[in-house]
Symmetry: C2
Subunit: 184 residues, 2 copies
């Protein structure tokens, strides 16, 4: 079932919610219509489950990217670099379910809107925490405003996914090199 959900994640990322029909879903998940409706209440429930699964996976990926850094500053650099990578190539073209949901559904779907907000807040808080870690370990100056910088970095990461979906190439080293000035 989890592997079927992974396939659902992929379809929703590629096509969005409204452009994904039950037919697309059953084809991707390799289940018949009846089987999908036996596992989920409706299309919306499939999407919610896919969203949940996607955010869990992405969270794990960014945290493990951060963990590869020796101090707060390097951890942030790794997180940003990881975002650039995921915003590019086939993965970037596939898109981010959080960004897609924010843009396509947030305005008219309270359930999705709530999950999008909490996910964005989680990401922002994670970055803010890394900034404070860096200030504690001496790799980031004390005068950096952790919360404001974290919110701007949230905009940067979400923006990368938009730009990446539009197929503009992103040079990780150069882009992140510039972004690190925010920690000066």
């Amino acid at each position: 079932m989890d592997t079927a959900l992974d396939r659902a994640v992929r379809v929703f990322r590629e096509r969005g919610y409204h452009a994904t029909s039950i037919g697309d879903l059953t084809a991707a998940m390799r289940l018949a219509t009846g089987s999908v409706y036996k596992a989920f209440r409706d299309k919306h429930a499939v999407f919610l489950a896919a969203f949940e699964r996607y955010t869990a996976l992405r969270q794990e990926q960014t945290r493990s990217a951060a963990a590869r850094g020796a101090n707060g500053r390097e951890q942030i650099r790794n997180v940003l670099l990881s975002y650039v990578e995921h915003s590019q190539g086939v993965e970037g073209r596939r898109g981010c379910l959080v960004v897609g949901s924010a843009v396509e559904l947030s305005a008219h779907d309270a359930m999705v809107a709530a999950r999008v907000s909490t996910q964005l807040a989680t990401n922002e808080n994670f970055i803010a925490g890394l900034i404070r870690d860096g200030q504690a370990d001496g790799s980031i100056p004390r005068h950096v405003a952790a919360d404001d910088t974290a919110r701007l970095m949230l905009c940067i990461t979400q923006g990368m996914r938009v730009v990446g979906k539009a197929r503009l190439p992103l040079d990780g080293i150069r882009l992140v090199g510039v972004a690190m000035k925010l920690l000066a």
Copy 2:
């Protein structure tokens, strides 16, 4: 007709392409079904016209915001501040057609994808030009990498629209204050 198209822009921004039915469109544009199909070949053509109109309006708004600045640096500050304003409140919740199109359509609609890319490139080039202007007038240091910084600022602006659509509040002064470090 232009006022009808303005109303179409609004609906597409609020609901996206796929979630907007012809019924929604005729109701908003205050035209009957037949009249819409007499003015446009199909729904896709209405969308393309709305996209064109939206980008023209937005371009004008950003340029006039920039024009209020005395030098390159202040012009960029004004552009960023303008983006924050447009990403917030009722306007922010309405969303950006470029971001929406990039996320919802770019992957499967070559015509839209092309227009999104050129629009993003135009925005980026505009910012890069302002950076170079600032370097010429002495308000921005020469060592700032114009192209890389412009691309990062493109990510920032597009990201603001995502975050704004998700209803996270954005403090223009603080956010732009941090972002201006990129021009140090």
